[in-house]
């Protein structure tokens, strides 16, 4: 009786040690690599936008396909803050570069995507700020395995995320 109990426990332990542990470690490595790929792709996307002064549907599609190639699904948030220097111009003493003396208009993901769909591009100007955040929405294998032992719940239970923000450095060319 005692022996068979120990055997059952031993089989369980062996299963955890021999399957779950390597699997978890491997799955977490995969997530690390996905994380890296997503971060790199996000940085590249934002840097392209900032140095060309425009966000095009081609760049966005390429970014999408790059991050999707990690095998996860993502929730992408794009925020464009458009600098409005006009209020600062009305008072001649205002310091154009000082925080608080210029306004920013925000354009959020849905508006950005709508513009990209109709126009194929969004032109930006020097001083605008672009922020892109990508978070995974599916459960990765490592999350599933982890949930087997302990649960993390809530809205922001993402495992893979990439974020980058940059100030646009050039007025986007509006011609062909």
């Amino acid at each position: 009786m005692g022996d068979s109990l120990i055997t059952v426990v031993a089989i369980f332990l062996a299963a955890i040690l021999m399957f779950i542990f390597p699997l978890m470690s491997l799955a977490e490595r995969t997530d690390d690599i996905s994380q890296l790929a997503v971060q790199t792709a996000t940085t590249e996307f934002v840097d392209t936008v900032r140095t060309t002064g425009k966000m095009t549907i081609e760049d966005y599609d390429q970014y999408l396909s790059e991050i999707s190639s990690t095998g996860n699904s993502f929730d992408i948030e794009i925020l464009i803050q458009q600098l409005d220097e006009n209020p600062g111009k009305k008072t001649t003493q205002a310091e154009a570069t000082k925080i608080g003396e210029n306004l920013y208009y925000n354009i959020y993901t849905t508006q950005v995507l709508e513009q990209l769909d109709t126009n194929g591009r969004i032109t930006l100007k020097e001083g605008d700020i672009v922020t892109v955040t990508a978070k995974n929405t599916n459960q990765t294998i490592s999350q599933m395995l982890r949930n087997f032992f302990y649960m993390i719940s809530g809205n922001d239970s993402y495992q893979i995320a990439g974020q980058h923000t940059a100030v646009v450095s050039v007025n986007g060319s509006t011609s062909r």
């Binding site: 031993a10 062996a14 040690l17 021999m18 390597p22 470690s25 490595r29 690390d32 690599i33 994380q35 890296l36 971060q39 790199t40 940085t43 840097d47 900032r50 140095t51 060309t52 002064g53 458009q82 600098l83 409005d84 220097e85 006009n86 111009k89 009305k90 001649t92 003493q93 205002a94 154009a96 208009y105 109709t118 126009n119 194929g120 591009r121 032109t123 930006l124 100007k125 020097e126 605008d128 940059a166 100030v167 450095s169 050039v170 007025n171 986007g172 060319s173 509006t174 011609s175 062909r176």
Partner: protein, 598 residues
């Protein structure tokens, strides 16, 4: 063997493998994280540097003079290193070592470029034992970092008669041609703008009017809002609007009294001044005074531009009209033509005659053969020089420097604007070396007038003024239904804030905008300036084509529906202002290094 033994052996095998894998992957992750951080630092530092250049040039009345330009560039390079040092401090790089990792900084300007890199510091002896190279050693090294000599965007061509001539290019359609043409022409040096001469018609030399591509070009009145220092000791200043003209690329303003009446000398000559160091420096030169009186303080620059460009272009077509890319001499030796080697230049213009400007090869337009060839020549020149500089870079590190490959899209950015390209390589990241570059271009400056660099000022019925991009839908619709009228067109730099320092205390600095005339604030249009949406293509306006919304264009999947026909009078008004301003600003651009014929 028992099950437990197998389990232990399995763990013994798997654990080290998994640990090594984990550590390797972690290392790779760290390397890429570091690389991303370096990339950001590099881009940010480059942007800071170009921003410094922009601020220095827009606020510097002498920024176009060669020495002053070198100073602005050096200041901008030191901004680059400061910014890089600050952001790299987190990644444990000793700040003094950073120079060793930046093999080259490329600074492209209107008519040529500077490369900042290391050079051998030597001087040649004279007299006895002449031409011995003596090395100057500083801190144990004979090489130092600094700006290398200015390089023009130039190429040599072989004429049909075997003579070799040189053409210097710029970022727009201006060229300088020099060399021995042989025969009646002999040795020639000529500068000018290459345009399609057939477009220029109905020249009236007394009224100074002509038509360019159907657009009437006339003398125009220009004015600017200035703050002048009246008394330097007391620090009293005066704000007013002044009319101005250009004389030899410098602005000359006409003075007026406090109630706005223009001042004249008794003989009817306008009282004119230069705006030097924020003060009125009155002009005494009779030649300039005479010029001001004769033109009645109306700018004829646009007329002069088209008129001189026509004459120059006709000469170029007659003398260089047969040149095709085959006749270009290789940069490496400067004697053998490239012949039918179509891959030598990045753009293959085939058998098209490069300098033969016509309606099909209009140098003002970006897709002309001239323009493609120009870009290819500039690119070849930069590539060759940069490659040499980077591979010969001498420093204390043992890294083997090499120029990274720059993509076509990125070249296009570099070749079309003032730009700064910084290279950083040789730092160890993980198991490899960092090697990347940053390209930042800038279009707010006084170096070059690109078609996009002209803004149109429009006034509504209540005297409120806003500035617009020429391709702005709000502007065109306003002009079309009569709610807006055009109130001038000026270059982008005129809309930047100017600062005056009147005392030691920087809090006393005064700010003003050159185009905030009549005591009114001039704001940017919310459609095209703040939101940066230009609905119509600027090259369509340049060519005089009908305007089609961007998304309505057939190549963008639209229906091709025309929004404004080229016969529309509002569109014609806009086009006239735009073409006049573009010509005027190009003509009046101060070219410090360029004009060899003057």
């Amino acid at each position: 063997m028992k099950l437990q033994h197998i389990a232990v052996m399995f763990i013994l095998i798997i654990v080290p493998i998994s640990m090594v894998m984990a550590s390797y992957i972690q290392n790779q992750i760290d390397a890429i994280t570091l690389q991303i951080a370096y990339d950001s630092s590099l881009i940010n530092a480059t942007y800071d540097a170009i921003k410094a250049f922009q601020l220095n040039t827009t606020n510097n009345k002498y920024s176009s003079i060669s020495d002053s330009k070198i100073r602005d560039i050096e200041a901008s390079i030191s901004t680059f290193y400061n910014s890089l040092n600050t952001s790299m401090a987190d990644y444990s790089q000793a700040s003094t070592d950073l120079e060793g990792y930046v093999p080259a900084i490329l600074f492209t300007l209107y008519d040529g470029y500077y490369i900042y890199s290391s050079y051998d510091n030597v001087y040649s002896t004279t007299g006895e034992g002449e031409d011995e190279k003596v090395q100057i050693t500083l801190n144990g090294n004979n090489y130092q970092n600094g700006l290398k000599p200015f390089v023009y965007y130039s190429a040599k061509y072989k004429l049909n008669n075997g003579n070799i001539i040189v053409v210097n290019y710029t970022l727009d359609n201006e060229i300088t041609v020099y060399g021995d043409f042989g025969g009646a022409e002999g040795y020639v040096t000529k500068s000018g703008y290459l345009i399609n001469p057939d477009y220029v018609q109905n020249i009236n030399t007394s009224a100074k009017t002509l038509t360019y591509n159907g657009v009437l070009i006339e003398p125009e009145r220009l004015s600017e809002h200035l703050i002048t220092i009246e008394n330097q000791e007391l620090g009293t200043t005066k704000e007013d609007d002044y009319i101005y003209i250009f004389y030899q690329n410098e602005k000359i303003y006409q003075d007026q009294d406090d109630s706005g009446n223009l001042l004249y000398y008794t003989d009817g000559t306008p009282v004119i001044f230069w705006y030097d160091n924020y003060m009125k420096t009155y002009v005494n030169d009779p030649e300039i005074r005479n010029y001001a009186r004769e033109c009645n303080m109306m700018s004829t620059s646009a007329y002069d531009y088209y008129n001189e460009a026509k004459e120059f272009s006709e000469w170029v077509i007659a003398n260089l009209g047969n040149i095709t890319q085959e006749d270009t001499l290789r940069i490496e030796d400067g004697t053998t033509p490239i012949g039918n080697d179509n891959t030598y230049l990045s753009e293959n213009t085939g058998t098209e005659r490069i300098f033969s400007a016509s309606a099909t090869n209009d140098p003002m337009l970006s897709e002309s053969a001239f323009n493609n060839h120009r870009l290819a020549i500039i690119r070849k020149s930069i590539e060759t020089n940069l490659n040499t500089v980077i591979s010969n870079y001498r420093t204390t590190t043992l890294y083997d420097y090499a120029m990274p490959v720059i993509s076509n899209d990125e070249w296009y950015k570099v070749l079309n604007n003032i730009s700064m390209v910084t290279f950083m390589q040789g730092m160890t990241i993980g198991y490899r070396y960092y090697n990347n570059y940053a390209i930042i271009t800038n279009n707010v400056n006084k170096e070059v007038v690109k078609p996009e660099n002209i803004y149109i000022i429009a006034e509504d019925g209540t005297n409120n003024r806003e500035y617009h991009q020429p391709g702005c839908k709000v502007l065109l619709e306003g002009l079309n239904n009569g709610t807006l009228t055009i109130n001038g067109a000026y270059p982008i730099a005129s809309f930047q804030r100017q600062s005056i320092r009147i005392s030691e205390n920087s809090e006393d600095d005064l700010n003003f905008y050159l185009q905030a005339r009549d005591g009114k604030t001039l704001t940017g249009c919310y459609n095209c300036i703040v939101n940066a949406t230009a609905d119509y293509d600027i090259y369509d306006i340049l060519e005089g084509d009908s305007l089609i919304d961007y998304y309505n264009k057939i190549e963008n999947g639209g229906t091709g529906e025309i929004s404004f026909r080229n016969t529309n009078s509002a569109y014609q008004d806009l086009r006239r202002s735009y073409l006049t301003a573009l010509a005027r600003e190009r003509y009046d651009l101060y070219k410090s290094n360029f004009d060899l014929s003057r």
